[in-house]
């Protein structure tokens, strides 16, 4: 790209082309369920910690798939790993392992 010496206001568009998905690929390798979500929201609705904080596993997963990890990862800090999301997930996603794997692979 030509450098004009100035920049435009940062766009709110997610530039998928520029997203680095290598960590997400790594995540899928250890927990293939990471791409099974159909965004029904059951996990977020039943979340024990979600009653008190903004934790929303559906959003975290979607954020990771779009390369916006900085925006969503801090949510996971309040997870109590109680496993309710695992019980309610209609796709049978192993959410607890998914969360633990994200915590191992990603960095904030």
């Amino acid at each position: 790209m030509i450098d004009f010496g100035y920049s435009l206001t940062p766009s709110s568009t997610i530039e998928i082309d520029d997203a680095d998905m290598s960590l997400f690929d790594e995540l899928c390798a250890v927990e293939p369920d990471a791409i099974k979500c159909m965004s029904c929201g059951s996990c977020a609705a039943s979340c024990t910690a979600g009653v008190f904080t903004d934790l929303n596993l559906r959003k975290v997963l979607l954020g990771l798939q779009r390369g916006c990890e900085e925006d969503v990862l801090p949510q996971l800090k309040s997870c109590m790993l109680c496993g309710k999301c695992h019980i309610v997930c209609p796709r049978g996603i192993n959410t607890r392992h998914l969360i633990l794997s994200i915590c191992k692979i990603y960095n904030i």
């Binding site: 039943s46 024990t48 910690a49 009653v51 008190f52 904080t53 990862l73 996971l76 800090k77 309040s78 997870c79 109590m80 790993l81 109680c82 496993g83 309710k84 019980i87 309610v88 049978g92 192993n94 607890r96 392992h97 633990l100 994200i102 915590c103 191992k104 692979i105 990603y106 960095n107 904030i108």
Partner: protein
Amino acid sequence: MMRERFISGYDHFVLPFMVGMIFVLLWCIIGVIKIMVQLERKDRIKVYKSLVNPVIMGKNVRDWFGDCLFHVKLWRRNKVLGYMHSSIAFGWFMLIVIGHIETFLYIPERGGLFYYPIFFRYFMAVESTTLKGSLLFFLMDFFLLVVLSGIILAIIKRFRSKLMGMRRTTKLTLLDRVGLYSLWAIFPLRLIAEGFTAGVGGGSFLTVPVNWLFASILSKPENFTIAWWAYSIALGTFMIVLPYTRYMHIPAEFFLIPLKNAGIKVRRPRKGYALAELYSCPSCGVCLDACPMSVDKAGLKNTTVYYIRQVKRRNQPRALAIADKCLMCGKCSVLCPINISAIDLRLALRKQQPYNIEHDFSYLDKIPNEALTSAISVGGEKVLYYSGCMSSLTPMVSQSVQKVLTTAGIDFTLMDEQGTICCGRPLLLSGRTEEAKALIEKNEQIIKESGAPILLVSCAICYRIFKEDYDLNGVQVMHYTEYFEQLAAEGVIKLRKQEKLKYVYHDPCELGRGCGIYEAPRKALARVANLVPAAKERKESICCGGSLGSLTLTHEERGRITENSIRNLTANSPDRIVTACPLCMKTFSRQSEIKVVDFAQVIAENLVEKEKEE
């Protein structure tokens, strides 16, 4: 009377034995020092103190004899296997002891030589028979026969394990095989060697006939040194490979017992107490049949015996994969002849995993307790009922509990009416012990502040952590099975019995093996229906497959475990499956064709209301 045959008291054939003996002794001494150094300071002091405590020492001696020599636990499970193990262990032990007695009686100046008591009959010649001498010789032959009978059973077991009541046995490593074959060889070779010398060195009912036999078929039976060489080489080989085989459990268990009785627990995955446990595993394979994951053939490799093998080999990725897969149901530990703390070993490894995103539960402190519950400072005789996070998915459970309490006229308050703070057990089971403390502290605070004398819990998982890891200043934690049985026994609630119905009770892992509650739910259920047994129950109950313990089992793998567990429960064709854990209920009801109900529901359905009674 006896005399020494050789002035030197030595022959070259003892060398293989001596090399092996010294090697093993050094190995064990270094191992013991290593483990002691690796123990935490407070644990080490605990061990030293236990060694001068007569009560614990008494227990040590009892366990040494009971577990290492007589294999009492194995006897209880399987008589043939019990006999096989104790005949070899105790028989061998007695051969060594009597060998030493002989040496010290007849030739005390040789008492300092390791090999003398072992090869006693080679070095001694009988001059005249005495009662004491023939008695000792008789005993030696008798115990040799005992050991040989055990060896024969061991050989049968290796090739036909089903005859011994074991469905599966472990795969042996190459060195395990060397150890096994040399162990098999030792005693027949001893019989042959002593048979050759029985003419000179004396013998009894076993060795003397062997001597006659040799004398009749061989021209020069005196030419027997080669047999003693073979015997010594077998012993030497066995001891050289010992540290690298499963037979290391023989010396390791002797050391593990005092550590265990001193109350030491696993803290690190392969150091200190864990190391003692790793070497104490006899690879017997009891955990193969015990493990619920064994319903899949592929699941066999995730059992404790293979976990231990991978940790010993320092295969970190494999060990971690196994550790993460485990349901933490604890069945292998309970059935294990040496009760290896399989869960703790795996948890220690899970704990070591590095995480880049750390949990932050500071938000819990900002939640005012009043916002969660109206239970603040209830005091008096009130019961505080913690229904747990799962109860919103199994509304029948909390509803039934509340119905029973109301009918019984008990004043109670729901602790987590407006949102649950998780009990912390799931974090603990994921190896995140430190993080769990934040949740524990918050809940402790709410419970203590309520002033209620009894904390009632309807989830087996929560119950276990409340019992084990909470400090509640004397608040009595009760599982609803215990509490309702108490209410029924005291006549506070009256129940009607449905004579025609057959129920089977599933022991949830956390409640049964975890907290030892087996009888209270059964007694209460027997008041309302006829209880039929499951094929395997109580401490042998099979995990429902839904356990929070496993981090990596897939939905499908869990499904097969559940199916097997249901099959086990329905062996006596019950009308209903009753369980006392919301997670078991959720898991079973997905797959069971028979209705699955919670304990509380069964009790609530059969309450005789007081007004109706009058």
